[in-house]
């Protein structure tokens, strides 16, 4: 028996890693006394399978977790999936909230393999809306978008352009006193995850590279000196959707009955005190 959870990760908890979140779930599931199925071997672990890893520091409205239960004990214990979100929410740390839980078929592909793209909402500082719109247009018009990316501990050049499926400015500008330009601007994007996922920070590097060339190539990030208001800096990023393709249609692994997902909710979450 397999249960799929959709959950959000918002606020301070965004500073934990994917591995940390996995361990939070393991502990919460044990505290809930769910009859977990364990791996075989000398060091048995609960069988958990997450969707695509979320970068440390990013928030999300669309995280997924598949939990395998021991089929015999699950029936004996009379597991009621509808009650699980309520049971588990109080056992998970603040900022991790379950949106939905359903029983799913055991499929041969893992969630991680099935996801083809992710939608992101980002909040940038250091740039005006006009400058950002210019850069967005330039990215969309470009044939190639070389940036430096880390791969197995080494910096290599990679073309970002094929991974940028959609890109647009979003939301209203927000006044932020801490920012030198006095405000932030929103950005939404759908980024392909195959063959390799693109992280929001890499997209921002592409936005820099498209107009400032070498600045985006620097692995340390842009040198902001002398160019306030022109160079975008990633302030917050929130994954709003993970997409899979089923029967030729793009859809979410869980449809999220009544889940108000999307850029507006992401921006709203970012505005809340974390």
């Amino acid at each position: 028996m397999r249960i799929r959870f959709r959950f959000s990760k918002l606020g301070r908890i965004r500073f934990t890693s994917q591995r940390d979140v996995a361990r939070m779930w393991e502990r919460a599931l044990r505290r809930a006394r769910l009859p977990l199925a364990y791996t075989e071997g000398f060091s048995p672990r609960p069988q958990l399978s997450f969707g695509l890893a979320l970068p440390t520091g990013a928030e999300s409205l669309a995280e997924y977790l598949d939990v395998a239960l021991d089929p015999v004990r699950a029936v004996d214990d009379g597991i009621d999936v509808a009650t699980l979100p309520g049971t588990l929410d109080v056992l998970l740390p603040d900022g991790i909230d379950i949106e939905e839980a359903v029983v799913v078929e055991r499929s041969k592909d893992s969630l991680q393999q099935m996801v083809t793209s992710c939608s992101w909402t980002m909040r940038l500082t250091g740039i005006s809306r006009e400058d950002l719109e210019e850069r967005v247009a330039a990215v969309l018009a470009a044939d190639v978008l070389p940036i430096m990316r880390e791969r197995k501990g080494r910096q290599e050049q990679d073309d970002l352009r094929p991974s940028v499926l959609t890109l647009a400015g979003a939301g209203v500008d927000q006044d932020v006193a801490a920012d030198p330009t006095g405000r932030t601007v929103g950005l939404v994007a759908e980024l392909s995850t195959q063959p390799r996922g693109v992280r929001p920070v890499e997209l921002v590097r592409g936005l820099i590279a498209v107009a400032d060339g070498a600045a985006g190539l620097s692995p340390e990030g842009p040198d902001l000196a002398g160019r306030p208001g022109r160079i975008p800096v990633l302030d917050r990023a929130c994954r709003t959707h993970q997409w899979i393709v089923r029967d030729g249609l793009r859809e979410e692994p869980l449809r999220g009955r009544g889940i108000p997902a999307g850029a507006d909710r992401a921006l709203h979450a970012m505005e809340r005190a974390s």
Binding site: S17, R30, S43, P44, T56, P93, L234
Partner: protein, 672 residues
């Protein structure tokens, strides 16, 4: 107190492991500060991952927060990248719970578990915006306190810490809090009105040592002549605090469960405090006497409640020698068989003596998953082990290793010390002989077993019989490491790991220094020497330069044997042990004469029980299986021993050895 979160948050996107700084652990308390509560910031002066699991800090955190007149938060040393960012942006050291500035607390209380963190202590005081030297602080600054094992020689930090606290903290922390609460400033906004009077008042609390209440004198040769009280009410000798019954203190009740992975990331339940095996190199065993076992029923409750609350799938039963706990096998079996554990909870025993480790224990702890198995013979030959009083025979080690391999372990780790008193090359090379035989035993069960021998350089510790011993030089330790490495090279399945002899030397510098060592520590810190426990940041050159600048040498500070009548910098600090007992034990060591465990044999009058009117608290009248310590003597007859037996026996506990031992004794008192 104001929250620094708005200033901290933007820094977190650019540092490693940002979740170190967000708090929010399960068990973290909602701390509210009010005018009636003394505010404590409990600081562990090493990284979050190392500091968070510290049980001492967690115990005090809970005890203080249960009091209406106290409020305690926690802090850890920000990692190097975060500290740089904090200093650049003017963000001071802050607490985990409320992200409140450290300088706003009434007390900064440091846990001192290792000497090489001393430079971090100075750094954190500075990062808090507080003058590092106690003499420069005013009513506007927090009182800086320190506790933990290292305070049994407080002198190297005496210029920086206002008040040290010796021994078990459970009771004394409340007494200190009461004194602090009575010294509010007129406005009531903080503790510390009349700082000198406050410190004098603290010095009257038993177990508290306030360095500014003492004068230090030196003789014409520049040797320490004495540390003497300045005021009539100041004690000439400060005695440690000892709680008499661990059963009265079932803490931590709500062990912290961090959001990120830390060391010892599991439920920890303390089986007993103190150890009387009498290993002469072991400071922990000397300064925490006597043995006080936690009642087995309480252990069971703490384990089951802790697992249910935390969701951990591993519990460590901690102590200085866990296999010595009365009825250890029954306790382990009870946990593993508890239906609430669903057969998925593993038990680890972090400190295992080989003579108390049986096939039964091995079989129990491997039922769920095999945690690492480490044994500590410490010395390579029987002669060496008699000198250090770690009286385990080769047969004991081989039997324990055999038990482990036969129960399916494929890797075993062995701990040894080199640079011990009277050590010869034969003793050193005995390490390889032992380890090699362990590999051979393992190969009977599995073709690819590995044995790792971890070798540490010995640092003589204060309040032990070896406090007079001159530490081996860096060159000598390095030579011994090379001997071992070369001898182990042809042995398949044997790996030798060693601790950097340079770091051993630096630890020696601070371990036995007098008050003048403070200048050396300060200089190392001012020259950037933080995180000296970490090999990537450790720099011996900083230490030797600072020594030289203060007219000191490694030869005198570290390598020199101390003499019988020499004034030692920690003579005014007492862990209860009589100096003549320690000196006699030192002479016994040199005579290769072992001393059996006083839990089960007559008292040697070391002072730890008699001096404080406390007693051993153990549940079993007989030592664990194999507990003869290899001396072959019959321990079952016992004697006039100041031992109080627990009135509730661990269920199913049976005497493990001996002829006369009836079931579990329910006697109380034997007069000492």
């Amino acid at each position: 107190m104001e929250s620094l979160w708005p200033q901290i948050e933007p820094l977190l996107a650019h540092v490693t492991k940002p979740a170190r700084y967000i708090g929010g652990e399960l068990g973290a308390q909602q701390v509210e500060h009010g005018p009636d509560a003394v505010s404590w910031l409990l600081v562990y002066p090493d990284s979050y991952e190392v500091g968070l699991p510290n049980q001492g800090l967690q115990i005090l955190y809970e005890i203080l927060n249960e009091r209406p007149d106290a409020a305690a938060e926690r802090s850890y040393a920000p990692w190097v990248d975060m500290e740089a960012s904090m200093r650049t942006h003017g963000v001071p050291l802050f607490s985990m719970e409320n992200q409140a500035p450290a300088g706003a607390f009434d007390v900064l209380a440091f846990n001192l578990s290792a000497e090489l963190v001393y430079t971090n202590v100075l750094n954190l005081i500075d990062l808090a915006g507080v003058p590092v030297r106690a003499a420069d602080r005013t009513e506007e600054h927090p009182v800086v306190m320190a506790g933990g094992h290292c305070v049994f020689n407080p002198e190297p930090l005496a210029d920086f810490v206002d008040c040290f606290v010796l021994g078990d903290g459970e009771e004394v922390v409340g007494e200190l809090n009461a004194v602090l609460a009575s010294f509010r400033t007129a406005g009531g906004d903080r503790v510390g009105a009349g700082r000198v009077d406050l410190l004098r008042a603290l010095s009257r609390v038993p177990g508290a040592y306030v360095p500014s209440c003492y004068d230090v004198t030196y003789d014409d040769a520049g040797r320490l002549a004495g540390v003497t009280p300045r005021y009539p009410e100041t004690p000439a000798r400060v005695e440690k605090r000892t709680i008499t019954d661990l059963g009265d203190w079932p803490y931590p009740r709500q062990q912290l469960v961090p959001l990120i992975e830390v060391v010892h990331d599991r439920l920890n339940v303390e089986l007993f405090r103190g150890c009387t095996r009498g290993c002469r190199f072991c400071q922990a065993g000397m300064i925490t006497r006597p043995v006080r076992e936690r009642p087995a029923e309480q252990v069971r409750t703490m384990v089951s409640a802790g697992l249910e609350r935390t969701g951990y799938d591993e519990v460590a039963l901690t102590s200085l020698s866990s296999a010595d706990y009365s009825g250890i096998e029954e306790t382990v079996t009870g946990i593993i068989d508890d239906p609430a554990c669903s057969g998925q909870v593993s038990v680890s025993l972090p400190s295992l003596r080989v003579d108390a480790f049986t096939v039964g224990t091995a079989a129990q702890i491997q039922r769920v998953r095999r945690t690492g198995l480490t044994f500590a013979p410490e010395g390579g030959t029987w002669r060496m082990r008699q000198v250090i009083n770690k009286l385990i025979r080769e047969e004991d080690l081989y039997a324990a290793v055999d038990a482990a391999f036969s129960q399916g372990w494929k890797r075993v780790k062995l701990y040894f010390l080199i640079g011990l008193p009277t050590e010869t090359d034969e003793d050193t090379l005995g390490i390889v002989t032992l380890a090699k035989q362990c590999v051979a035993i393992g190969k009977r069960y599995h073709p690819s077993v590995t044995v790792t021998a971890s070798v540490g350089g010995f640092v003589p510790k204060v309040q032990t019989p070896f406090q007079w011993f001159g530490q081996n030089t860096i060159e000598e330790l390095t030579r011994k490491v090379h001997l071992l490495r070369d001898a182990a090279r042809p042995v398949r399945g044997l790996t030798i790991r060693w601790h950097d002899p340079k770091a051993t030397a630096a630890e020696g510098i601070v371990s036995r220094g007098d008050r003048r060592m403070g200048g050396v520590i300060e200089q190392v810190w001012r020259n950037g020497g933080t995180f000296q426990e970490w090999s990537e940041y450790f720099d011996l050159g900083l230490w030797t330069d600072a020594l030289a600048a203060h007219g000191m040498t490694l030869e005198d500070a570290v390598y020199r044997h101390r003499t019988e009548h020499e004034v030692l910098p920690w003579d005014h600090i007492s862990a209860g042990l009589h100096r003549d007992f320690l000196w006699q034990d030192w002479k016994d060591a040199l005579a290769e004469h072992g001393l059996p465990d006083c839990r089960w044999t007559p008292c040697y009058d070391c002072g730890a029980c008699t001096g404080y009117g406390v007693e051993h608290v153990v549940a079993s009248a007989v030592p664990p299986a194999g507990g003869s310590q290899g001396t072959g003597q019959d321990l079952s007859s016992g004697g006039q021993v100041p031992v109080r037996f627990l009135t509730t026996a661990p269920s199913g506990a049976a005497p493990a050895a001996g002829s006369g031992g009836g079931a579990v004794a329910l006697v109380s008192e034997g007069s000492g």
